[in-house]
Symmetry: C2
Subunit: 163 residues, 2 copies
DNA sequence: GCAACTGGTTGCATAATACAACCACATTGG
DNA sequence: CCAATGTGGTTGTATTATGCAACCAGTTGC
């Protein structure tokens, strides 16, 4: 953002993340733990195009929301990680999901994780954020009882099977 | 949204509001109490183009976020009002502003209202939402001590003068 | 009668997005 | 060694969205 339209917090957030794909990419890295290009390209229902994905990853790295690193297991593989700035989007993403669940035609299986996050409230969000810090920033694990991400993923997979 | 890309709550919210202008329009109606086309066109720093504004107003009405009504004082005037669905965006907008304030180069005078909303917490948001309901939906006033919108506006004007 | 105000529309240029095909290099299995 | 598959993308083209400036017809106040 070289020339922001204004210094309003809402506007600046919109200029950074206000498009149809950026938050989808972050959602998939955050909740799906997809760390590679191909996983992000083929993993989700929304079917992002490869050039758009490449562009968004580049922009998000430039905006300080992601970092890109080499994967030691494969010379061509790149690993994308969330930064603290992106982890700090958790409450915003939860609110987005909550509003969507209240007002838009969501499907059950895509809402189950959202439902759990809403029920858990800010305490659970904080646990989740801490977990993301160990997963993406290499922070020391806080030795929590059960992984939030695992709980979300298990519930999601169960809902998928029921379908 | 005739063909949603997926039934994910976050995605559906993004398909509804994920562009650079929709939430700016809602922000101005909500926090600036701008109810007419011209007020929305010329009132804010971001300088929206008239065709974009017209298009967004139309879409937001279609999406059930705004209603359009005739203004009795002027045959050509249209009054735009928030629906319950839009009022329900308050927590999301607060989170957006909070994130922007933490991570982006916001200006003081455009952050002051955001700051007050963050300090006030969910209790204040609820008061504000109730106030919006009386203002936009004609709900009976809840007889609150001081209008939240007034408090926000006063603080904003004071910050503007100091500049 | 006329200037200012009302909510827009129109035309054109540029930018973003979508879709499909393609690519060079790396790794794996036989 | 070789072929199949996996890797992160790029390229080309078509469509759609956005941005900008000019314009417009009806309404109101004086």
């Amino acid at each position: 953002m070289t020339n922001p339209r204004s210094g309003c917090p809402i506007n600046l957030t919109l200029e950074t993340l206000g498009d149809r794909w950026s938050l989808i990419v972050i959602r998939d890295i955050m909740f799906g733990n997809r760390r590679h290009f191909r996983e992000l390209l083929t993993g989700s229902d929304e079917r992002i195009a490869s050039n758009i994905l490449a562009d968004r990853l580049k922009r998000l790295v430039e905006a300080g929301l992601l970092t890109k690193a080499d994967d030691p297991t494969h010379k061509q593989k790149a690993v994308y990680s969330l930064t603290e700035r992106a982890i700090d989007l958790v409450p915003l993403l939860v609110q987005m999901g909550a509003w969507g669940r209240r007002h838009l035609p969501v499907t059950h299986e895509m809402s189950i994780r959202q439902e759990l996050l809403e029920e858990g409230g800010p305490t659970l969000w904080d646990d989740f954020m801490d977990e993301l810090r160990t997963l993406h920033l290499g922070a020391p694990p806080r030795g929590d009882s059960a992984s939030v991400l695992e709980r979300l993923t298990t519930a999601y997979r169960r809902a998928l099977k029921q379908k």
